[in-house]
């Protein structure tokens, strides 16, 4: 197992392998998202209670789930970076943070906009939206801490420790916000219990979620590749790569 980890520790190996994977991921994300969007917006039936405002679920749920899993990814990268000192994990965590923050903001915005027709006001202090707001502040804290240090290496380590502290506190925050105010409707779709929506409604939702995760993978992968190029700019293989892509274009 150690060889396998060590092989992945070298950015060059990761870069070569990801060159083939990245285009597929981008293509998969594009297809899934367009099919899911068309199906969800145009063909899925409207909800009997919320009518067409229900279609916001097809963007709210994927972005909320991305916000959560991105935080989990950052915590895993933090452990890998602090314990095995693999720089790749630090790069992935650094790259994933802005994506997670933007997904949290998107989930908050779409949740709030969805609230107007259903609850009558755009911001309601309901448990899930409040936890999402706190998660957004956690993201800002981690990003700000990373860029507060002069040297990237110490910034990466400090941000890793804060992500671990954050991930330990997340369930406690959710529980206490839940205790404080439970208003939000129960989760409309969870992998364990059967979806409470008819099939024609949750299939597009599933497509949108898979598409969102594919996009998440593609963005994180490509931005990691850029960060590797930026950090290893003195390495010969980077220079060789850049010069021959440059010649191919002219």
């Amino acid at each position: 197992m150690w060889q396998w980890i060590h092989k992945w520790a070298s950015p060059k190996h990761f870069y070569r392998v990801s060159t083939r994977v990245a285009p597929w991921l981008w293509g998969l994300a594009l297809i899934l998202l367009t099919v899911g969007a068309l199906w969800g917006l145009a063909f899925a039936p409207a909800d009997y209670q919320q009518h067409d405002s229900f279609r916001i679920i097809y963007v709210h749920v994927p972005s909320a789930m991305l916000a959560e899993s991105c935080f989990a990814l950052m915590a895993v990268c933090a452990v890998v970076f602090l314990v095995w000192k693999i720089k790749l994990a630090d790069i992935v965590a650094k790259v994933a943070a802005p994506f997670g923050a933007s997904m949290t903001f998107a989930a908050l915005f779409s949740g709030a906009v969805w609230g107007i027709p259903t609850w009558g006001t755009w911001w309601v202090w309901d448990a899930r939206l409040t936890s999402m707001l706190i998660l957004l502040f956690l993201y800002f804290g981690i990003i700000a801490l990373r860029y507060a240090f002069a040297r990237e290496h110490s910034g990466g380590r400090a941000a890793a420790v804060l992500s671990l502290v954050g991930v330990v506190n997340l369930p406690i925050i959710k529980y206490s916000v839940e205790w404080w105010n439970t208003l939000h409707q129960t989760a409309s779709f969870s992998l364990t219990k059967a979806p409470s929506m008819p099939e024609s409604m949750w299939v597009p939702l599933l497509l949108m979620m898979l598409g969102a995760y594919a996009l998440f993978g593609a963005v994180v992968l490509s931005r990691t590749r850029n960060e590797i190029l930026r950090r290893e700019h003195r390495a010969r293989w980077v220079r060789a790569l850049i010069t021959d892509t440059c010649d191919k274009e002219h």
Binding site: K85, R151, E152, H153, R231, E232, R234
Partner: protein, 250 residues
């Protein structure tokens, strides 16, 4: 009352410590032979901002060694010193104390080390005596001779009569001498001094040189980084760093 739970916690540590001592044979012979200095660097490497300051550095410090670390500014001298004290994890290789890698032998190693860095390590609001008594406490010195030792240490650095004046009112040179009084106070086999001669007058320098020489003569070891050549004693070992990855060890 607030620290009630902590005493129970500390007592539990004592029980664990006694158990550790009972079934750890190595600990017994260590006490008979007296602490032998054995600090080795194995294939040490230090990388900063994707650049190697030094690589594959091999050396070994034994009893009676006086080692000088030299090199231009920014050549990684302080990083090497921080690796030797266990503050900085080497990017490559390992530092061994009596055969055991540092992170595993941290308590034993720190029990045998006195480190004097760029910062004086002295609290300005406290008096020299209070500073030294705190050092004895965190240095786990036996209680019997502690009061006498403090006076004797202050006398040795020529601060007799200044014992109960807050350090803030002493001059910069006197402040550093309070820091250096630790060398007299805690009789530790290994001294690591980083630029010890800054802000010290001529006869202070001579006194410190004599002290280090006598320490090495008595079987201790010292690692010193300084631009000032020792006049009265020869270095038994030199580690030169050129800052571009190269080094030479005598």
């Amino acid at each position: 009352m607030a620290c009630g739970p902590y005493w129970t916690f500390v007592v539990k540590c004592r029980a664990r410590e006694r158990r550790a001592r009972r079934d750890d044979p190595a600990r017994d012979n260590e006490r008979q032979v007296g602490l032998r200095v054995q600090l080795e660097g194995r294939q040490l490497g230090c990388e900063r901002d994707e650049r190697w300051l030094f690589q594959a550095l091999e050396f070994s410090i034994e009893d009676g060694d006086l080692c000088r670390v030299e090199g231009p500014n920014g050549s990684g001298k302080t990083s090497l010193i921080k690796m030797l004290t266990g503050q900085l994890e080497p990017s490559e290789g390992a530092v061994l104390w009596q055969g055991k890698p540092l992170p595993k032998a941290r308590a034993a190693f720190h029990g045998a080390l006195v480190y004097s860095g760029h910062l004086s390590g002295v609290k300005e609001a406290l008096t020299p005596l209070e500073n030294l008594s705190w050092y004895q406490a965190i240095g786990i010195d036996d209680d019997a001779r502690s009061v006498a030792a403090r006076w004797q240490a202050l006398d040795a650095v020529g601060l007799k009569g200044f014992e109960d004046i807050p350090v803030a009112q002493l001059s910069a040179g006197q402040r550093r001498r309070v820091g250096l009084a630790r060398l007299h106070l805690l009789n530790r086999p290994l001294w690591i001094l980083d630029e010890p001669f800054t802000a010290i007058d001529r006869e202070g320098v001579a006194a410190l040189e004599h002290l280090v020489a006598e320490h090495c003569h008595k079987g201790g070891a010292a690692i010193v980084t300084t631009h000032h050549a020792f006049s009265s004693v020869a270095f038994t070992r030199r580690i030169g760093l050129d800052g571009h990855g190269g080094h030479h060890v005598l």
